[in-house]
């Protein structure tokens, strides 16, 4: 019997996501959990991380949780405000961004991302939000980390739509297309961290209490099981930051 963990799956996801941030990263983050994970990193092990928001905000320091990138709460404390061309153009396309953190509707084994449309089992299509800056971030950031919940339908060997390219696209390495960034290096879920390397997807770590085989079974893409580590459990400091400051209403982590 396992003791009931002292954190939610969403909290574990935010913490595991935050660990992908390296101190000194220049990071562009997408809507939702990536925002929480990036801010958590900045308040803990990666204080000199510089955050950028595609809407045109440099180094925000929000004091309230936000409903998305377009929620002015997220821009509070910004060091300067500019345009999207400044963030996605000068900073990102100009190769000054070391880390992109993105959500995904679906991913494949090379970390390519679909945020455009899904196809149900009956063949019907359903549209979603499209790229926004997602394609640009996945194209140009030195590293891209995908943050999403771990549901089998969110993994696909062949995506119905490649919104944003991973390490390989259509069987070819990404640099053959002229892409400048390094591509997806990790898919962080609420159960595990899947590293995307030259050989494809590798189970890098499973979160405390998760069984690697069960995770693999619920991950319907080619995935090297290997001998995954256990993801560090959330610390009291991390949980306190999430609960008191970053997501007090539990919009993202509960």
């Amino acid at each position: 019997m396992t003791a009931r963990p002292a954190w939610t799956r969403g909290e574990m996801l935010a913490v595991a996501g935050s660990l992908q941030v390296r101190d000194g990263d220049v990071a562009i983050v997408g809507l939702g959990l990536p925002q929480v994970a990036a801010l958590l990193a900045r308040y803990t092990h990666a204080p000199s991380t510089r955050l950028l928001l595609e809407i045109g905000v440099f180094e925000p320091d929000p004091t309230e949780p936000a409903m998305g990138i377009a929620d002015p709460r997220m821009w509070q404390g910004g060091s300067s405000f500019g345009s999207m061309l400044e963030i996605l153009g000068v900073m990102l396309h100009g190769r000054r961004v070391t880390l992109g953190m993105l959500g995904a509707l679906q991913v494949d084994q090379w970390g390519s991302i679909n945020t455009t449309e899904v196809v149900a089992e009956d063949g019907s299509r359903r549209r979603f939000n499209g790229s926004g800056g997602g394609n640009d971030i996945a194209s140009h950031a030195a590293r891209t980390v995908v943050i999403m919940s771990h549901q089998p339908r969110k993994f696909a060997r062949v995506l119905p739509f490649v919104t944003s390219p991973g390490r390989m696209v259509r069987g070819r390495p990404r640099d053959q297309f002229g892409l400048t960034g390094g591509g997806t290096c990790a898919i962080v879920t609420d159960r595990a961290v899947i590293a995307i390397g030259p050989q494809g997807a590798v189970l890098d770590s499973v979160h405390p209490g998760e069984d690697p085989d069960a995770v693999v079974a619920d991950t319907p893409i080619p995935l090297l099981r290997g001998a995954p580590a256990e993801t560090p459990a959330p610390t009291a400091e991390q949980l306190d930051l999430i609960r008191s400051r970053l997501d007090p209403h539990g919009w993202y982590t509960r």
């Binding site: 809507l31 409903m67 998305g68 061309l85 499209g130 790229s131 259509r170």
Partner: protein, 284 residues
């Protein structure tokens, strides 16, 4: 400083000048700084066959599509942030009544930037390898090319211009010099790529009241200035008013199906008659 021409107009007047089939550009972003007052007036004027361009779609976009005013939409995606997707856009696209041309946010911004600058075309390394690029190339909106200097692959995009751009700003003077507080996303490129720029402003001030070093949209580009206090409601204007989460949620729920969408438009757009009445009803 000279007084400059007085470009003030009423919302009704500027909407009267927009014809069916206009290539219209909007400047809102999801739940912030949407030209909702303008969108309402356009819906009530029953304009059709608009060709819409917007880097990130939001409530204004969804309202116009919901009303059947839009034939095609070039965008870089969109949503109501956590309040929901652009239901009307997604439904119309699935039904085939709306032609979608989809970009990344940067790629569409670059097309507008090229249009603004009069560049013959513009090259990027975004979109490469994606299905977005495949669809754009198939539609004639992009081409694969080689960098003429180093031979590496890249994507070239034609400039994009529109007939009219509508933007909601904080302050404008009567000649059209306009100021935006906070981030400006693709507003600079969108307004500069339009033949006609309509500025809706929270506050309209005299010429000379704005520091010329702080102007985001120079009067030389602006054709009409419309006083529109709270005109972005229920979306947010940084430093002035918050989005109304309850109203956005109400809209997102209504827009989830066609009947709800029609009922929302009847009650909140057609039924109110004016934006002031809409604001009063929403505040009640």
């Amino acid at each position: 400083m000279r007084a400059g021409p007085d470009r003030r107009e009423s919302l009704a007047d500027v909407v009267a000048d927009i014809r069916d089939g206009t290539r219209l550009a909007l400047c809102g972003f999801a739940i912030t700084r949407n030209a909702v007052a303008f969108a309402h007036e356009l819906v009530r004027a029953r304009r059709h066959r608009l060709s819409l361009t917007q880097v990130i779609g939001g409530m204004e976009t969804d309202l116009l599509v919901a009303a059947g005013a839009v034939d095609d939409l070039s965008y870089g995606g969109g949503s109501l942030d956590r309040f929901g997707p652009l239901h009307a856009v997604n439904r119309a696209a699935m039904a085939g009544t709306l032609r979608l041309v989809e970009y990344s946010a940067l790629a569409l911004t670059l097309r507008l930037h090229a249009g603004a600058l009069g560049l013959p075309f513009i090259a990027t390394r975004s979109l490469l390898g994606s299905d977005l690029a495949q669809a754009l190339i198939a539609g004639g909106h992009a081409r694969l090319a080689e960098d003429p200097f180093d031979g590496t692959p890249c994507l070239v995009l034609p400039p994009l211009r529109t007939d009219v751009a509508v933007v909601h700003v904080d302050v404008a003077d009567t000649a059209g010099n306009a100021v935006i507080a906070g981030p400006t996303w693709s507003i600079p490129e969108t307004v500069r790529a339009a033949d006609t720029v309509i500025v809706l402003a929270e506050e309209v001030v005299d010429v000379g009241a704005i520091d010329p070093s702080h102007v985001h949209i120079p009067a030389a580009l602006v054709h009409a200035v419309v006083a529109a206090p709270r005109g972005a409601y229920p979306t947010a204007v940084f430093g002035r008013y918050d989005y109304d989460g309850a109203h956005l949620r109400r809209y997102a729920q209504a827009a989830a199906d066609a009947a709800g969408t029609a009922a929302y438009l009847d009650e909140w757009v057609f039924g109110t008659g004016t934006f002031d009445a809409f604001l009063s009803k929403a505040a009640a």
